[in-house]
Amino acid sequence: MNQYSKTVTVIKKVRSMRKRRGYLAAGILAALVLALCCAMLMLGSTIYPVKDVIRALLGEQVQGASFAVGTIRLPRMLAGLLAGLAFGIGGAVFQTMLRNPLANPNVIGITAGSSAAAVFCIVILHAGRSVVTLAAIAAGLAAALFIYLLSFRGKSFSIGRMIIVGIAIQAVCHSVILYMMLIARVSDIPAALRWLEGSLNGVQMADLRLLSIAVLVLAPAAIFMSRHLAMLELGDQAAASLGVHIDRTRIVLIVSAVILVAVATSVTGPIAAVAFLSGPIAKRLVGGGMSAILPAGLVGASLVLTADLIGQFAFPVRYPVGIITGIIGAPYLIYLLIRLNRRGEL
């Protein structure tokens, strides 16, 4: 229809302009993640040149590099990458679904539930790694289910109620963890401490199987549902009138996010603040032109890998990755509170 073609041109220009910014940001993030992955493989007590790293990855026996890269650095890098993706995407989905950037799995008790179960298995049951992993996943899912069911008053579900219930669960799980630390045998304490802040230490390739499956299946699923998420952002009523199945969509998205977060927690522990920071940072970088879910995953991966590199090499003492991200998290929280406040969203 010719009478609208001028407007169509205007709209196309607006959209492509914003999309371009989004793609650019996503591209830069992807490049950053790639660079960080390389750094993780190359740096260490011995720095191996790129050539040696590649040869070691391809299976050749390279003096020193094969062990360092293949057995230690590669699983560590993959763990950081996958966990960062999982926390970033999971956190961003939560924040969008619950319509508040402060409502992320760390605050709503999911990661605390996983950690509590893990610490319980370590300290009380003295269980092996696989049991701990499974318990962490199961507990994260159970916590999410529990919170979801408690958010109903009669038949009506409320996001606000879900948040309060989540905060209560978080408090309980946190207490459980602290109690476990109290009665732990001295030999168990280092293993248990890992569940307080999150760490990439001692991850083996075998540990990564479940996490890789979860990320490879669920991350694309979440990205696939970006359009539905965009509708939900407008509010339940507007979304429903646009033809979105509110309950179905919500459940699929939250279950995916919970699984991602729970599985990631089971491998690395609850890496502080990544689930919280990734979404808002990605949104700022990408702008409103496209969905921020995949960028959030990339931001998460960047955060984890960068923090781990800092934790390994920046100080005389090695710090686990969770401590570094925890330290970044606090000032960013304040900044976010101030910004949200000014915008009238708090």
């Binding site: 169509v8 009669g154 009138s241 646009l242 033809g243 409103g288």
Partner: protein, 277 residues
């Protein structure tokens, strides 16, 4: 442009509510096709609830709602969203989204899971934006707009949905009188030019009487009266629905009935002969 054949939307003895309470009781009505219908009533009488129930946002606890004879709950969501659209009272404003993108979200029921916008999508959005005069705002962020502009954007989004039936929940509340009239005029254009069936909740009785082809008056969850404005806006019905003593005059501009309230300090003057008590 040819008038679209009207879809029929009817409710039969519905009762509905939320949070465990039943607000609507035993309501039966049929929405007149190709017309502008307005629901009026005092606060908390169930106007919004009725609108949302008709738009299938709330499931009635008893009774049925039919669209073209089919029970509305059996129609798949996306298909329904291509026929019926609702503009809620306070939609959430996401940050950092351009007006063009937001209006574009109204195309969701027509879009496939993957892929970008089709030619039809662009045209629908362009048409909606031109109609609501917001083309110059295409690149503005929606959270930076004024109330009146924002409301036009929301209506544009509902228009881009290209539904035959459009529900609007208090589209003019919180707007200046100029914007109120402007929006109601635009909605009238939609009805006269494209034959859209429009159902809205308005709290201003006089504006409602002026713009409506058909009115539904509610009190305490029940339908008290329905009909053309001159049938519904009468002294007795206004008294029953709002508890207000009034005189009803003919609006000198639009020839529709207009309510003039009688309070304790202003009584009916016997002098003027233009009054019809």
């Amino acid at each position: 442009m040819a008038m679209a054949p009207a879809h029929t939307l009817a409710a039969d003895r519905i009762a509905a509510g939320y949070d465990g309470r039943v607000i609507l009781q035993d309501i039966s009505l049929e929405i007149p096709g190709n017309k502008i219908s307005v629901i009026i009533g005092s606060n908390a009488c169930g106007k919004s609830t009725l609108l949302k129930t008709l738009a299938r946002l709330i499931k009635p606890v008893s009774g049925t709602i039919t669209l073209d004879g089919r029970p509305i709950h059996s129609i798949p969501s996306k298909q329904l969203a291509r026929i019926v659209g609702l503009l809620p009272q306070s939609p959430i404003v996401p940050e950092g989204i351009s007006v063009a993108d937001l209006v574009g979200r109204g195309r969701f029921p027509h879009q496939k899971l993957f892929g970008g916008w089709s030619k039809k999508d662009y045209e629908a959005v362009a048409e909606a934006m031109d109609m609501m005069n917001i083309t110059e705002l295409a690149n503005a962020n929606i959270d930076e707009l004024s109330g009146g502009q924002r409301q036009r954007v929301w209506i544009a989004m509902a228009l881009a949905q290209q539904t035959d039936i459009l529900f609007l929940d208090e589209p003019t509340t919180f707007l200046d009188i100029t914007y109120q009239v402007e929006i109601l005029d635009l909605l009238t254009d939609l009805n006269r030019t494209f034959g859209k069936t429009i159902v809205m909740v308005l709290h201003d009785i006089n504006l409602a009487a002026r713009y409506a082809d058909y009115m539904f008056a509610m009190k305490n969850g029940r339908l008290v009266a329905q009909g053309t404005p001159s049938q519904v806006i009468t002294r007795e019905i206004v008294k029953e629905v709002f508890g207000l003593e009034c005189a009803v005059i003919t609006d000198p501009v639009s020839a529709s009935p207009s309510v003039v309230p009688i309070g304790r300090h202003h009584a009916l003057h016997p002098v003027s002969t233009a009054m019809t008590p």
